[in-house]
């Protein structure tokens, strides 16, 4: 036991020292906590290294100890994972909801239309039966009715929801396609993987921006040779956005003409 206390004391001293250094450098509290916890784990590890040999157990005693050990492992794993910061699924749900809106509509619309078509077919059959019954009664010829197939759908309503303010749609696409992961704009986002875009409107026309998004290999930002060679910018956006959305994004980006920001010069490659 004395060994454990001694090692823990050392752990506290080292951990405290690390926290003090980190604090003086304005390292956030969560990192300080991490360094402190690792120091304590280290202390416990060294206490285990120098611990007395555990005697062999068997039978019910070993079963009990193993059960307790399992409960400990389960608790540590579940609690440990819950202790870490959690991503908020609602943020993503809203994004995915918008991204899949059209597909979901098509799917739901398709189903509804099919149901309507079937209902219509049934209605026609009922009418036909009524006519036949009337015919039997009144000597009229039975009119057979061709049931509409499921394929005979009414024209799809609307053209996709890309109406409204084009700039708003463009900004929304910026968020939905997570362009900010690689590009900095208005001082936000970007991890130096792609160029800062605050002055892109001065350097490229809307059509050129559209072309770059649809075909990333069509031009390269100056100084981004390595990223261009690796093909870091995915060429999937033309498949993920419809032409209206692509145009909206390009138009919105084209409105950024902040010459104070050093957006690298685009070099045509195709």
């Amino acid at each position: 036991m004395w060994n454990l206390f001694k090692k823990l004391a050392v752990g506290f001293v080292i951990g405290g020292g690390l926290v003090a250094i980190a604090n003086s450098q304005e390292v956030p509290f969560s990192f300080q906590l991490l360094f402190f916890i690792v120091s304590l784990i280290g202390a416990m590890m060294f206490a285990l290294l120098d611990a007395q040999t555990l005697n062999t157990m068997s039978g019910g005693k070993s079963f009990l100890v193993v059960t307790v050990f399992w409960v400990f492992l389960i608790t540590v794993c579940v609690a440990g994972a819950s202790f870490l910061p959690q991503f908020e699924p609602d943020d993503e749900k809203a994004k995915i909801g918008k991204l899949l809106e059209k597909e979901r509509k098509q799917s739901a619309q398709g189903k509804t239309e099919e149901l309507i078509a079937r209902a219509k077919a049934l209605d026609q059959q009922v009418k036909a039966l009524e006519d036949r019954l009337k015919g039997i009664g009144g000597g009229q010829a039975v009119a057979t009715t061709q049931a509409p197939t499921a394929g005979e759908k009414p024209a799809a309503a609307g053209g996709g929801g890309a109406s409204g303010d084009i700039m708003k749609v463009g900004e929304e696409q910026w968020q939905l396609q997570e362009c900010y992961n690689c590009h900095k704009l208005r001082g936000e986002g970007g991890k130096k993987r792609g160029p800062e875009l605050d002055n892109i409107g001065t350097l490229l026309t809307v059509e050129e921006i559209q072309q770059k998004i649809a075909d990333p290999k069509s031009m390269m930002a100056e100084g981004y040779d390595k990223e261009f060679q690796k093909g870091i910018m995915p060429d999937k956006f033309k498949d993920l956005m419809d032409p209206k959305e692509l145009l909206a994004l390009a138009t919105w980006l084209g409105s950024f003409k902040n010459t104070a920001v050093n957006t690298p010069k685009p070099i045509k490659k195709k």
């Binding site: 390292v27 956030p28 611990a51 005697n55 440990g80 994972a81 908020e88 995915i96 992961n181 991890k191």
Partner: protein, 570 residues
């Protein structure tokens, strides 16, 4: 009896599925599922069954590699313990083979119930694999597996070579299965594509081979091969721990102590490669679509990787603690010494590797030009340096280095699961941010692996110079074995979830959207709960299988047959 029980189990599962409303699936004509799994929801239901299936499959594909190595070692060293170990693990494998088949069938049923349209179209994409190749290989594997077990006592002595050859053949079929089934699995993450053509258009003209040999197929297969070897070893270690605890005699205890030791060292062999094949897989994924990278490392999944770092750090600490406890029971281990270069390299390795990786990022060969001579120097130049240090001191220094490496590995850019919305007060300040860079992470992994190798070298020296007292290991070692099995299974569950979540809101990335309301990234806390439940269930089944399969053979061994029970002391 076993076939009977597994049939009963299958029937029960089918009955359960019918209660859950599977027949409704066939009644629907279009659209999404009409089945809603209670409590879990459809997506989690698929996840649970898929992960269980993968765990069983990983064991039955990994254990044969472990078994044949063990059998071959027994034959070469003429040590009957290896043969007994191999046979016992094979018996457990055969039982778990049934569980793999049951969970595989259940997986398909649940998938069909939850996502009928996608499952049908997916099977159509790979009908040659699902209807011909996979069943044919699985049946071949079954025949070989049973033949391997039942010829064990027939093909011995002079015919042992024939039996080992059968084991090798079994392994080749296992590997083939792994490569074949990884085709559709990896396809869902990285379907083949070509520049300038939409994925749908490319897929329409793609051959089966194009679909199988997608960008993440080979790295995933490599990662799973070494992962399965490690996994098989860790599970065998846990079985050894339980049987050690249940052992009634010194001889049994000596044997299961030895079994745990062999299992762990085979597992360590696989574990040392895992970080690098895992990195290769991540590299290929990011190369396929760079948006995977921020999703994994900075955004939704960043804390999943933080948790992975914690668990792998603990796994390495556990492996090396087991090594420490093993050295403690070697008489004469106190006299073992190693060149002073070893602790010096241990101390400088992390900062030097970080500097090298920052200057020449992989695959630049310059990084190897620095690191190879540095890491090999204790082994190549050690004999020319007269100053030596005791093994215990070096191992303790190794632990300090491991803890520092763990701390580096665990330091993220910020403690937030959304990298782009990270408030400044959560970010590492400038001057400290190198700790969160990829070169720093790779250096930490590299250092952890190197420390483990040094400990292995020291352990081997201790064995050569001292005497191992089998059965005298600290009882705490048995808990370490259980811990290692638990941790490795948990990590597999976590990374399985990550691989699947990488598809984001798609069933097949960028091709087939998941239109259900469940297509979002669940929280780490939620995921950890299920991963733990899956781990506990899997390990409980393995434990029962081991107790059923191995206990009778222990009873037989105890019978006085005239064959000496090996209680090897060097």
């Amino acid at each position: 009896m076993k076939t009977h029980s597994s049939s009963l189990l299958t029937l029960t599962l089918l009955a359960l599925l019918s209660i859950l409303g599977v027949p409704d699936v066939f009644a629907q004509e279009a659209g999404t599922s009409v089945v809603d799994f209670p409590y879990t929801g459809n997506r989690t239901a698929v996840w649970i069954v898929a992960q269980l299936h993968i765990l069983f499959a990983a064991f039955i594909l990994g254990a044969p590699i472990f078994v044949v190595i063990s059998e071959w070692l027994g034959y070469r060293k003429q040590d009957p313990r290896y043969d007994r170990l191999a046979k016992e693990v094979t018996k457990v494998t055969v039982i778990l083979f049934s569980m793999t088949a049951v969970t595989g069938g259940l997986f398909i049923f649940v998938l069909l119930a939850a996502y009928p349209q996608f499952t049908t179209s997916f099977i159509n994409q790979f009908y040659v694999v699902f209807a011909i190749l996979y069943p044919a290989l699985f049946i071949t594997e079954t025949i070989l597996m049973y033949a391997y077990l039942y010829t064990w006592d027939i093909w011995k002595g002079e015919k042992k070579g024939r039996h080992i050859a059968l084991g090798v053949l079994l392994n080749l079929v296992c590997l083939l299965i792994l490569f074949v089934i990884n085709g559709p699995t990896s396809f869902m993450n990285t379907p083949p594509k070509a520049e300038g053509i939409s994925p749908q258009d490319f897929l329409a003209t793609a051959t089966l081979w194009d679909k199988i040999a997608n960008q993440s197929w080979f790295p995933l297969s490599l990662h799973r091969i070494d992962g399965n070897v490690a996994f098989g070893g860790f599970i065998a270690g846990m079985i050894a721990a339980y049987l050690y605890m249940a052992a009634k005699t010194k001889e049994e205890r000596a044997y299961y102590d030895w079994m745990g030791f062999v299992a762990i060292w085979i597992a360590v062999g696989g574990s040392l490669l895992q970080p690098f094949t895992g990195l290769l897989l991540a590299y290929e994924m990011c190369d396929y679509d760079f948006s995977f990278c921020p999703y994994m490392m900075a955004d939704q999944l960043s804390m999943f990787f933080e948790m992975q770092g914690i668990m792998i750090g603990l796994l390495f600490l556990g492996i090396n603690y087991y090594s420490w406890l093993s050295v403690k029971r070697i008489e004469g281990a106190d006299n073992v010494r190693i060149t002073v270069l070893a602790p010096i390299v241990l101390i400088v390795l992390l900062p030097v590797t970080m500097w090298v990786m920052n200057s020449w990022w992989i695959p630049d060969p310059m990084s190897l030009a620095f690191l190879l001579p540095l890491t090999l120097s204790p082994f190549l130049l050690g004999r020319f340096v007269p100053v030596t240090v005791s093994a215990r001191t070096v191992i303790k220094i190794g632990f300090i280095i491991m803890l520092i490496s763990d701390a580096v590995w665990l330091t993220p850019a910020g403690f937030v699961a959304t990298g782009t919305d990270m408030p400044d007060e959560m970010k590492l300040p400038e001057g400290w941010d190198y700790l969160s860079s990829m070169p720093a992470k790779l250096s930490a992994i590299f250092t952890l692996v190197f420390v483990t190798i040094v400990n292995f070298v020291l352990y081997n020296r201790a064995i050569k110079q001292g005497t191992i007292l089998w059965g005298k290991i600290d009882f705490a070692a048995q808990f370490v074995l259980i811990f290692l099995a638990f941790t490795s299974t948990w990590i597999m569950g976590l990374m399985g979830a990550v691989r699947s979540l990488l598809k984001k809101y798609f069933h097949t990335y960028s091709l087939v959207s998941d239109l259900s309301a469940e297509s979002f990234t669940p929280t780490l806390s939620y995921s950890a709960g299920w991963i733990t439940a899956i781990t506990v269930f899997f390990l409980a089944v393995v434990t029962v299988a081991a107790l059923i399969a191995i206990r009778p053979s222990v009873a037989k061994v105890k019978e006085p047959e005239g064959s000496p029970i090996p209680v090897p002391v060097k």
